[in-house]
């Protein structure tokens, strides 16, 4: 693809969402709902069409020439002999093309869904403006080929996320959740920015391709590259809601459901996975950092899976499942299985957006009820939503031949032989446990919401969602079943269209932790993983569908502490509140009580008091008596003359 074609495609793919955001933001409220609905969705669809052209160009490029980096214009020349310049640099390669397809494709369906979901909300123009702006920011992030542009995109998605979580700004909980999310993002940003400084200090360039070409300035396995990678990983953990920066994601469910589907499931929260995949050249030099990333990813996957088992808010269960699945992706990129991580990202974007939107249908139909204990029996009343949710759950749980099965088994297959430390398979075993957990929580949710007896009377009055909300869900449900079939099969030497497509991006260097499993190991892994998923689903069936007493009894024998930890989310919110939030608040309170009135106010009003006192003194000579003025005038005239005659001369 030529530079001109690439420039045109990049400008167009970014321009449409930005234009949509501007139109909806500035004119939307004036031009009305119909205009906003059209402008909001068409802009993303146009962007999707351009993304398809990008994909066609990348696929059609001759081997070895699929990646192209263009400079639209030079933005800032830092000069001063540093040779540094910030350019509007963008990369089109297999990785960014894949991200473009997912963001605009899933994004478009979610925008269509939003037309139905926000039908009665007065803030529709603001909503679509923010959503379009998010798509623009996310595209900037994944296209950026310059560190500064990357960080700008990184920060802009956090901003859009903040705006959309706090969309219903009259709800105090939503405002608090937005603030929490933003503060956590900023902690990650600090990591990313310090990493960027270290990179620039050592490579003397801001351009990503140049940085990756100059990795010899980082000694392999050295403290420097390890530090850079850990800092990058902190940024990725904050964005992708990984331990210990994960607490913002469940609270982010305060935003409207389409926001949860788009930002907090399909796209933004996977930016951390993208970041590590994009910087894989650096990570490959730092096996220690990679091992840390893999351990934290798998740890988060287990923790979030356990928490998801006992949550009662439908969106929070899905949020924890998102956290768990992203943990698996982070694990994959940690062990160097980048294609596998990105594949799971793609499939996850489909089925998780689907789950959120189907959950949104349920919430909408029940008039904003999110407590799953008050649902049940919805399968008869919301036939399509029920089918779609079922397909999404099967895909999430990794049921045989559903898309999620392909991506998750593929991912775990690499875990059998790759990983940190002397016994890399230990994390794999944990991963199989996560498979069981996934089946459990996915079907606990499904059975509780859609099967069983209706728990409240209003279930009987429920109607299926409207067309705008149903069509995207059904399309995604179909995709959640079949999308992986032509792309990848989780055994070596079989179908690998997806990883072959991405391989040019990751061909340059390979992680030391990464090993290709042989056919035998992969087959055993496939059987074990699939069996684990089935066990999870089967257990869920016994516990929450058949309500078997013997199964309940097993559950009752568990130590009391486990359900307590799960229900209270391992007390992370409480711990952070005690150790971070309360001390900071105490400092702030002290400052307000002591520093503010005594020091700051004393100093500010001191200046005022001084001047006021001075003028009050001076005012007393203004008597209004002409003779006083004349006397003063005379006295000073005489003084002046005396000074002039006897002293100055």
């Amino acid at each position: 693809m030529s530079v001109d074609t690439a420039s045109t495609l990049v400008i167009l793919v970014l321009l449409f969402p930005l234009l949509g955001a501007a139109l909806n933001g500035f004119l939307g409220a004036m031009l009305g709902r119909r205009f906003v609905n059209i402008a909001g969705t068409v802009s993303i669809f146009a962007s999707f069409v351009v993304a398809c052209f990008v994909l066609a160009n990348v696929v059609g490029a001759p081997a070895g020439h699929s990646a192209i980096t263009i400079r639209l214009w030079q933005w800032i020349d830092l000069g001063g002999g540093t040779n540094l310049s910030v350019g509007m640099d963008f990369t089109l390669d297999a990785l960014s093309a894949l991200m473009l397809m997912v963001i605009t494709g899933v994004g478009f369906l979610i925008h269509v869904y939003s037309v139905g979901y926000m039908e009665h909300d007065p803030g529709f123009a603001r909503f679509f403006s923010y959503m379009n702006f998010f798509i623009f920011s996310m595209l900037t992030l994944v296209l950026a080929a310059d560190l500064v542009i990357l960080i700008i995109g990184w920060a802009l998605v956090a901003l859009s996320s903040y705006l959309l979580i706090g969309f219903w700004y009259d709800r105090p909980t939503a405002v608090l959740a937005a603030r929490k999310a933003f503060i956590t993002q900023v902690i990650g940003d600090i990591g990313l920015v310090i990493a960027a400084f270290l990179i620039v200090l050592n490579t003397h360039t801001l351009s990503l391709p140049n940085i990756f070409a100059r990795t010899q300035t980082f000694p392999a396995g050295g403290a420097l590259v390890t530090g850079v990678c850990v800092l990058l990983a902190i940024g990725a953990f904050a964005k992708s809601a990984q331990f210990p920066l994960h607490t913002w994601l469940p609270d982010a469910m305060e935003g409207p459901t389409p926001v949860s589907a788009l930002i907090h499931a399909a796209t933004m929260v996977t930016a951390g996975v993208y970041l590590i995949a994009r910087f894989h050249v650096l990570f490959n030099l730092a096996p220690v950092a990679e091992g840390l990333v893999a351990c934290i990813g798998m740890g988060t996957a287990v923790m979030a899976g356990i928490i998801a088992l006992s949550q009662i808010d439908i969106k929070r269960v899905i949020a924890y499942s998102t956290m768990s699945q992203i943990g698996l992706m982070i694990y994959a990129v940690g062990i160097g299985a980048y294609s596998a991580g990105m594949f799971h990202f793609t499939i996850h974007a489909v089925f998780k957006a689907l789950l959120f939107m189907a959950a949104g249908n349920v919430i909408h139909a029940l008039h904003d009820e999110q407590d799953i204990r008050l649902m049940g029996g919805l399968h008869a009343r919301m036939r399509w939503t029920h089918l779609a949710f079922g397909a999404g759950s099967l895909s999430l749980a990794g049921f045989l031949l559903f898309s999620g099965w392909f991506s998750k088994e593929n991912l775990l297959g690499f875990g059998t032989v790759s990983g940190p430390g002397a016994a890399p398979w230990i994390l794999y075993v944990v991963g199989v446990g996560v498979n069981v957990l996934t089946g459990l929580y996915a079907f606990r949710l499904y059975f509780t919401v859609f099967q069983g007896e209706p728990q409240t009377a209003r279930i009987f009055a429920v109607k299926e969602a409207g067309r705008a909300m149903l069509v995207p869900v059904v399309i995604l449900a179909a995709l959640a079943v079949v999308v992986a079939w032509p792309l990848e099969f989780p055994l070596p030497n079989t179908l690998h269209i997806f990883s072959d497509f991405l391989s040019p991006v990751f061909a340059g260097s390979q992680s030391q932790l990464f090993h290709e499993p042989g056919l035998g190991v992969a087959a055993i892994g496939l059987v074990v993983g699939s069996a684990a998923s089935l066990i999870g689903i089967g257990l869920a069936l016994r516990l929450w569908y058949e309500h078997r007493p013997d199964a309940q009894l097993v559950l009752g024998r568990l130590p009391r502490v486990l359900p307590l930890l799960s229900y209270n989310k391992f007390y992370f919110d409480e711990i952070y509140d005690r150790t971070l939030v309360q001390p900071v608040k105490a400092v702030a309170r002290t400052a307000r009580r002591v520093v503010e009135p005594d020091v700051m106010d004393g100093w500010v009003s001191g200046v005022g008091d001084l001047l006021r006192g001075f003028s009050l003194d001076l005012r007393s000579i203004q008597t209004g008596l002409i003779r006083d003025y004349a006397s003063l005038f005379t006295v000073f005239a005489v003084v002046l003359v005396v000074v002039w005659v006897f002293i100055a001369r």
């Binding site: 203004q622 008597t623 209004g624 008596l625 002409i626 003779r627 004349a630 006397s631 005379t634």
Partner: protein, 103 residues
């Protein structure tokens, strides 16, 4: 031809007249008397100007004296107009009473 020895006496006369005028302005409360005192001060200045002009062999002193007379006339016109207006308002003619502009 005046004797040059007269010069200090003329300046002494001017100083005396000026002091009398200034004292009157500062002490008296009747605006008409205050005005007369101001005229006295202006004329003291005139005496000094003419005396300097005479003893320095220059016409400028006398020219300035005429200027002062014209300005004084204009000032009296404005001042007397003000005084008549105040009188027509029925107020007592006392400069200490006229202090409303203070606030």
């Amino acid at each position: 031809m005046l004797n040059a020895n007269l010069f200090p006496y003329l300046l002494g006369l001017a100083t005396f007249l000026f002091t009398v005028g200034a004292a009157g302005v500062l002490i008296r409360r009747n605006p008409i008397v205050v005005f007369m005192c101001i005229e006295l001060m202006l004329n003291a200045a005139n005496v000094a100007l003419v005396a300097y002009g005479r003893f320095l062999n220059s016409q400028e002193g006398q020219i300035f004296a005429f200027m002062v007379i014209v300005v004084a006339a204009a000032e009296v016109v404005v001042g007397l107009a003000l005084i008549t207006q105040i009188f027509r308002l029925g107020r007592e003619l006392d400069v200490d009473d006229l202090s409303e502009m203070k606030e």
